[in-house]
Amino acid sequence: MGKTSRPAGVLLLGVGTILSSMTISGFLLGYVTDYFLDTMPLFLLGFGFLGLLGGTLKVYKLLTHPDFNKS
């Protein structure tokens, strides 16, 4: 079952929301971390930035490698 190819084109269905959802996820995770550690807004900004960076990377990967086989 290991490295079976799958149509990466299907993943492009979600490309429109990847960037925004990863940025929101970053901010959410940062908010929760700050809430528990009482460090607002340190992790909120840091994780938000990482979410934006990760989302951009993911969109770039999806759009430049149509047959890309790894998430």
Binding site: M1, G2, K3, T4, S5, R6, P7, V10, L11, L13, G14, T17, I18, S20, S21, M22, I24, S25, G26, L28, L29, F47, L50, G51, L53, G54, G55, L57, K58, N69, K70, S71
Partner: protein, 281 residues
């Protein structure tokens, strides 16, 4: 004049707010009728989605009892087309074999489509009928409630985590968090990035469906407001035909939207579960 404009504007806002308010029981705000805490329950969402699930069960059961071989009847033919379509989508996108995936995909597709379909019922009809029996708030489209879409996407997320751990092993799953995407020298960043990536999956599934359906419902409400405006003036002659044309056009377009959203939710579920079934990450 100003007074009438204010009251008209207030009425418009009130109309939209009323149609976008769920029938809340439990921990709800007594003034706004919105959920005010964790123990608030949107009764209309639960009832409508349960009734639609019941409809699927009853129809499947009754059809299953009188299945025809050879040349099937019209409805059996229609159901077979849907099953073949979902089966082909699973075969095209899912690596390997898991007997749970195709039934799960079919259930998601049909259930989400039916819940979305409630959007095509005239916006005032069911709330009006419900008001006759004393129900003041009724939001009939379960997918315009974020609780529904989030609940479904979190269920899918639970399955993703389960199959990821099952296929990769707990060590492999933890390794995915530690060494992906930047390698062994950036472990703290990798953990955060992978956590964000995993969290984004259910979030994007839920928000996409909710956003599209909520926006569609809002457009129906705005078109319905045209008729309300027409009753207060001579504009009745041209606003009502305009409303009918706009409503029909949006309704036809919305059939495409509801089908597309159900398809996207289903296909992304298959893809995410497929990714969970591969031993790589």
């Amino acid at each position: 004049m100003a007074g009438s404009e204010n009251s008209s504007g207030g009425g418009t806002v009130q109309y939209i707010q009323h149609h976008l308010t769920n029938l809340c029981i439990g921990d709800c705000d007594p003034v706004t009728h919105q959920a005010a805490g964790f123990w608030a329950l949107h009764l209309d969402t639960v009832i409508v989605s349960s009734l639609l699930a019941l409809l699927i069960i009853v129809v499947s059961w009754s059809l299953g009892r009188k299945l025809q071989t050879g040349a099937p009847s019209g409805f059996q033919n229609f159901v077979e087309i849907i099953i073949e379509f979902v089966d082909k989508s699973v075969k095209d996108t899912f690596p390997g074999h898991n007997p749970l995936i195709a039934p799960l995909a079919l259930t998601i597709f049909v259930w989400v489509w039916l819940m979305n379909f409630m959007d095509l019922i005239p916006v005032d009809l069911l709330p009006l009928l419900a008001s006759y029996v004393g129900v003041q708030y009724l939001k009939v489209v379960p997918t315009t409630d974020l609780n529904t879409t989030l609940a479904m996407s979190l269920t899918v997320f639970g399955l993703i985590v389960f199959y990821s751990i099952k296929m990769k092993g707990l060590g492999g799953y933890i390794k995915m968090f530690l060494f992906h995407p930047f390698g062994k020298f950036f472990i703290p960043v990798n953990v955060v990035m992978t956590a964000i990536e995993e969290l984004a999956k259910p979030l994007s599934l839920a928000l996409r469906l909710f956003g599209n359906m909520f926006a569609g419902e809002l457009v129906f409400l705005l078109i319905a407001l045209l008729g309300g405006a027409a009753t207060i003036g001579a504009g009745l002659l041209y606003i009502l035909p305009l409303q009918v044309i706009l409503d029909l056009a949006w309704l036809i377009f919305h059939i495409l939207v509801i089908s597309l959203q159900a398809f996207i939710f289903m296909v992304l579920t298959i893809v995410y579960l497929g990714m969970a079934h591969t031993t790589d990450h």
